[in-house]
């Protein structure tokens, strides 16, 4: 009975909700571009800044400099030492977070309308006038070294690092952005100043703001905040050439559950087949309980708590990767099932029903992302990084809908490459062995 009722409700509600986000593209008097969503219902602003480049800009021999520099931005600026800066920030109940990834430096700020000017002045000092005091360098360096040493014994981190090293080799993507004990120990204040000049420049800046601020105010705010940054930074890194030879590499580590990272070559976001590949990945291993990998590895066989795949689109590399974790005595079966599913999807493609289900999920889920100032600011700045226009939000679902069964199955045949599907297994897997170059 519930089925009939369900079908009725489904029919009545077959259209996805519309994402209704009113983005204004503005340019400040000083020439800084930004996307603004004005919403005065809560008296605060979420501001996102992104600098393209990130930790991949580390100079030769200086691995970890960008990461350490980014961590030090909140450790003293202008007239304020580390503790004074923290006290001022706390007193305003503002929050600033500074994060380096391989491809970008992200600064996320949240501040109240009632003390906006003071909060922005603190943020400005941290970006433009960081002190890099020796005391702070030594203290934060010790924290980073502690993290590096812990990562070296964490099965999940080892899996990520071994995989990156195999696939990306000498490219910056091939090594952890924290650096090594040796490289970080050798960094000095000059290196951090150089990293700051290289990475935080206006020629690679993307900005979004959402919340209680007008267009006019935002323009003035951005000029005050960012005018002191250099116009240009270091050249962006060259592309990587991912090494995905196919096969299995086992890294021996004494832990009960093996961690498996796997990948094959991916696809660029600008490729006309991107949406077909995106839906294809969703059907294969894209989150939720419905993917083929979850069905075969978890639901049918109980081999794992989670298995997933995704299209990784770095600025300098595109790979299609995934992850699974399974007890040492069962992981060989998990790997075999994934290999089988990969080959099967390439050979026989997806069904019309799978495609329809994926489309209703993806188009229905999309508008649900825009549910607060913080999330919208994040999406807006990421879209700029990816070269998208504001009208993408209105058009994106139509691009998903436009993918046909022929498209997706052609892309499955063209893109999926079981021969090059490469596994790195960290643990003590029973019945698996191998090394790769």
């Amino acid at each position: 009975m519930i089925r009939a009722v369900l079908a009725l409700v489904l029919m009545l509600a077959a259209l996805p909700a519309r994402a209704d986000v009113n983005i204004k593209e503005i340019t400040s008097p000083g020439g800084i571009d930004a996307w603004l969503v004005e919403d005065h219902s809560i008296p605060f602003v979420a501001l996102e800044l992104r600098f393209r480049g990130g930790a991949a800009l580390d100079a030769p021999g200086k691995r970890g400099a960008i990461n350490l520099m980014t961590a030090l931005l909140e450790e003293g600026a202008g007239e304020l030492d580390s503790r004074a800066f923290a006290r001022e920030t706390e007193a305003l109940a503002a929050s600033f977070s500074y994060d380096a990834s391989q491809d970008s430096i992200s600064i996320s700020a949240r501040f109240l309308t009632e003390n906006r000017a003071e909060a922005l002045e603190l943020l400005r000092q941290s970006l433009v006038e960081p002190r890099f005091d020796e005391e702070a360098i030594d203290r934060v360096r010790a924290q980073v070294l502690s993290v590096i040493q812990s990562n070296a014994k964490d099965p999940s981190e080892i899996a990520g690092q071994q995989f990156s090293s195999l696939v990306f080799g000498d490219h910056p993507y091939g090594s952890p952005l924290e650096g090594t004990v040796d490289s970080v120990s050798a960094l000095d204040r000059e290196d951090l100043l150089a990293a700051h000049d290289a990475a935080l420049a206006r020629d690679r800046l993307y900005v979004s703001a959402v919340g209680d601020v007008t267009e006019e105010d935002l323009g003035a705010i951005l000029d005050d905040l960012l005018a002191g940054l250099p116009e240009t930074g270091a050249p962006l890194p060259s592309d990587a050439d991912p090494n995905l030879p196919g096969g299995i590499e086992v890294v021996d580590y004494a832990t009960p559950q093996s961690i498996v990272t796997f990948a094959q070559p991916g696809i660029d976001r600008d490729d006309p087949d991107f949406f077909a590949a995106y839906i294809l990945n969703h059907i294969l291993g894209g989150g939720g309980f419905e993917s083929r990998l979850m069905e075969e590895v978890r639901e049918k066989r109980g081999l794992t708590y989670g298995v997933y795949s995704y299209l990784l689109d770095r600025d300098g590399a595109q790979i299609w990767m995934g992850r699974v974790a399974s007890a040492n005595d069962r992981v060989a079966e998990a790997v075999a099932v994934i290999e089988e599913e990969w080959a099967k999807l390439r050979e026989t493609g997806v069904t019309a029903e799978e495609l329809a289900d994926a489309k209703t999920y993806l188009t229905g889920a999309y508008p649900l992302r825009f549910d607060g100032n913080g999330p919208i600011a994040n999406i807006a700045v990421s879209m700029q990084m990816e070269g998208l226009e504001p009208d993408y939000i209105a058009n994106r679902n139509a691009m998903v809908e436009a993918v046909t069964l022929d498209d997706i199955n052609r892309v499955a045949r063209e893109l999926m490459d079981p021969e090059r599907l490469t596994f790195v297994v960290v643990g003590q897997p029973v019945g698996l062995s191998g090394t790769l170059n």
């Binding site: 009975m1 519930i2 089925r3 369900l6 409700v9 489904l10 509600a13 996805p16 519309r18 005065h40 219902s41 809560i42 008296p43 605060f44 909140e74 580390s82 503790r83 923290a86 006290r87 706390e90 007193a91 305003l92 109940a93 109240l112 203290r139 010790a142 070294l145 502690s146 040493q149 812990s150 990562n151 014994k153 964490d154 099965p155 004494a254 832990t255 009960p256 559950q257 939720g288 309980f289 419905e290 639901e299 066989r301 109980g302 081999l303 708590y305 989670g306 974790a325 007890a327 289900d357 209703t360 999920y361 229905g364 889920a365 999309y366 508008p367 649900l368 825009f370 549910d371 607060g372």
Partner: protein
């Protein structure tokens, strides 16, 4: 009246009420099911959650992990739905769903477009009482939860250490048993164990419905009455009486060695009172105490151990005020290179002793209170967080009034309150001190 008011706001400015509590409406169905509606009309999204006042601490002895196991099994079908059909239906409607289990509660949620709320209620109310599973369904899922334990605990020395420390902290209460279960008991969990727990605790009079997002209380009430209101209350629902902690009289110390540890550290946890309905003042003081000692860059432990003496690379303090029974106040110190764990522990004890002598820095207290006031503004951007706040409170012995009184109680805490709470809690006889290290390498 409220509805018209809301429509007016939408038309004029799409504004939210000025305080988070004004977004909240509560009522109770005739069968005893509580309902909380949290309005946020900025996006056409709704979160639909059902929280049960039952968690791992309500399990019978010998079947640890069964509350969490049952949570997984609720996705395995009912008389009307096939295994997996629940999540597949949510996904086909563009939504996502999941569930979580803690010591005191189990909760199920879906996040979907607001116009799909009825379908969610239909399915969630169905599995409240109509679960239908077989031995075959559960064997595979038991393997899944064992892999979940492998991933969360067995592969993670810090998680193993925390389990041992909790077991040492609680002499009698089930908070000493891990939510996911002890491995040796998980492998024997059976269908009868799961169904026994289900039939005991899953009933409308033991549940709270929380709907947050682009909805109005009237429409939620109508739908809730239609789907949940028709389920009879369970007249045999047991009172929630768990074995309580006795007087704790002996300091406990544990030492855990694991070759996968790269960074040794020391933890200290004290048994502490939790937030009690109508009497949350002491918990409010402990909440501020945790902020003062370990809450941020300018916390006292950071000041003394990271900045002044360079004894530590990291410090933190936490107080788990939201709990049905006695909770913990805990502190961690990660020592700097060259500092031993006994030295780090001694430095920690010195900070605590001096704090009790010297008292609270008034400016620090004012900064913390400013942040608490601001968090009531920021939380309005995240109805999911508000929904969790109410769900956790209502499953852990608090009322809506307690939740709404809490920011004011935090604001009212004085230095004397904080010191009195600290003196009461910081007693070694109530404490577990833990060292986690790698084994020494023998030549």
């Amino acid at each position: 009246m409220r509805r018209m008011f809301a429509c007016l706001i939408l038309t004029l400015a799409a504004a939210l009420p000025a305080r988070a509590s004004d977004q909240v409406t509560t009522f109770t169905l005739d069968n005893g099911m509580d309902v909380v509606v949290i309005e946020d009309h900025r996006a056409p999204v709704v979160s639909h959650m059902v929280w049960y006042r039952a968690g791992s601490a309500d399990e019978k002895p010998g079947v640890s992990g069964v509350a969490h196991f049952l949570e997984h099994l609720l996705f395995k079908g009912t008389e009307k739905m096939e295994p997996g059909e629940f999540s597949a239906t949510v996904a086909r409607n563009g939504g996502s769903d999941n569930a979580f289990t803690s010591y005191d509660y189990t909760a199920y949620f879906q996040r979907v477009a607001a116009d799909r709320l009825e379908l969610m209620m239909q399915m969630e109310s169905d599995r409240m009482v109509n679960l239908q599973i077989s031995e075959a369904d559960i064997a595979t899922e038991r393997d899944v939860i064992i892999e979940e334990r492998n991933q969360r605990v067995e592969n993670n020395p810090s998680a193993l250490f925390r389990e041992q420390a909790s077991a040492a902290q609680y002499l009698n209460h089930r908070y000493g048993v891990p939510i996911i279960g002890w491995q040796h008991e998980m492998v024997d969990l059976g269908l009868d164990d799961a169904l026994d727990y289900y039939e005991t605790y899953y009933a409308p009079n033991n549940a709270i419905l929380i709907v947050a997002g682009d909805v109005y209380p009237d429409e939620v009430r109508a739908l809730a009455e239609k789907y949940y209101g028709v389920i009879p209350a369970n007249p045999d629902l047991p009172e929630r009486m768990r074995a309580q902690e006795p007087r704790q009289m002996a300091e406990r110390r544990i030492a855990y060695e694991d070759a996968r540890v790269a960074q040794p550290y020391v933890t200290r946890s004290y048994l502490a009172p939790e937030r009690d309905s109508g009497a949350q003042e002491k918990a409010a003081a402990l909440t501020l105490l945790a902020e003062i000692l370990g809450g941020g860059t300018t916390s006292l432990l950071n000041e003394k151990l990271q900045f002044d003496t360079r004894t530590a690379v990291y410090t933190g303090a936490w107080y788990g005020g939201m709990a049905l029974d006695d909770t913990t106040f805990s502190i961690s110190v990660v020592p700097a290179a060259g500092v031993t764990l006994p030295e780090a522990e001694a430095a920690l004890d010195e900070v605590l002793a001096n704090f009790l002598e010297e008292g609270v820095d008034a400016e620090q207290l004012e900064r913390i209170k400013m942040q608490i006031r601001a968090s009531e503004i920021y939380v309005r951007d995240d109805v999911g967080q508000l929904a969790n706040r109410y769900g956790r409170a209502l499953t852990q012995g608090l009322t809506v009034e307690d939740v709404q009184a809490w920011p004011g109680l935090l604001e009212a805490v004085t230095e004397e309150d904080i010191l009195a709470a600290a003196r009461e809690v910081f007693a070694k006889k109530n404490a577990v001190t833990g060292y986690i290290t790698a084994p020494e390498v023998t030549q």
